[in-house]
């Protein structure tokens, strides 16, 4: 497939992934941990976000990885320092997404679950990571 098409789908998938991460991050932060049964309003919302994460956000992340690696191989960028730094940030972002996803799964369960302290900063961390990735991918400073 043409480089520009691959890049366009990669960017569209990245926007979908990050949008889903921000939504999940805000829900995990704002819905209180529960030691009891969830209220009637909380459970459907947690389930809806969880389904969106499973069916849209996580597949979008897989597309981002797959096409990102394909584009980097085609363009011969794997020896470039900017790409190595970008890959590290993407890996950390993926771990953050996995933590959000796992926490959301347990929150939506019957036992309730307290979210890890780090996830309070999930949304600002996501935005900071995306800003760094955009700079590295567009400006390719080194």
């Amino acid at each position: 497939m043409d480089y520009l098409w691959l890049k366009a789908i990669h960017v569209a998938a990245a926007v979908t992934w990050i949008g889903g991460m921000l939504a999940t991050g805000l829900v995990v932060t704002m819905v209180p941990a529960s030691q009891h049964k969830r209220s009637a309003g909380e459970l459907p919302m947690l389930e809806a976000i969880r389904r969106w994460d499973q069916r849209v956000t996580s597949p979008a992340m897989l597309i981002v990885w797959g096409l990102g690696i394909t584009v980097a191989v085609k363009a011969g960028w794997f020896s470039s320092p900017w790409l190595m730094i970008k890959l590290m940030i993407v890996l950390l972002l993926s771990v953050l997404h996995a933590m959000l996803s796992g926490t959301l799964r347990r929150m939506a369960g019957d036992s309730g679950h307290a979210s890890p302290a780090l996830l309070r900063y999930a949304a600002p961390l996501t935005i900071a990571a995306v800003a760094l990735i955009a700079i590295l991918a567009v400006a390719k400073p080194f």
Binding site: A98, T103, R106, S111
Partner: protein, 118 residues
């Protein structure tokens, strides 16, 4: 997750955790298989057989499988009460050829322990 904490989970949550552990086992096998193929097939083909394309193809495939493994492991750990020793073992084994297959057995034992009803 320790066996004692497993038993404090409601049945529906335990069922979900078992499903997660089963998916984690499959991903562990995928990561282990691509690593073994890369190290024992692609690398000898490149250096002894003169086929550099073998590593050029399998390298990124294993890279993607490893990323997926890290992602799944982070997701599995976040929803459960894992001991630090278990987490370190799951990460370290992913770097060692055949280590992922030992991980798969450990995950199977956890999954079976989760099936025990109280």
């Amino acid at each position: 997750m320790s066996a004692s904490s497993n038993h404090t989970l409601p049945q529906s949550d335990r069922s979900q955790e078992r499903g997660q552990l089963r998916r984690m086992r499959y991903v562990s096998l995928l990561e282990g298989t691509t690593l073994v193929t890369l190290v024992f097939v692609a690398v000898p083909l490149k250096h002894l057989g003169g086929y550099p394309a073998a590593t050029a193809i399998l390298g990124p495939i294993h890279g993607a499988a490893f990323l997926f493994y890290v992602w799944m492991l982070s997701q599995t750990i976040s929803a459960g009460d894992w001991a630090t020793r278990e987490i370190v073992r799951m990460i370290a084994a992913a770097f060692i050829p055949f280590g992922a297959f030992a991980n798969e057995r450990a995950l199977k034992r956890k999954e079976d322990a989760m099936a025990v009803t109280v």
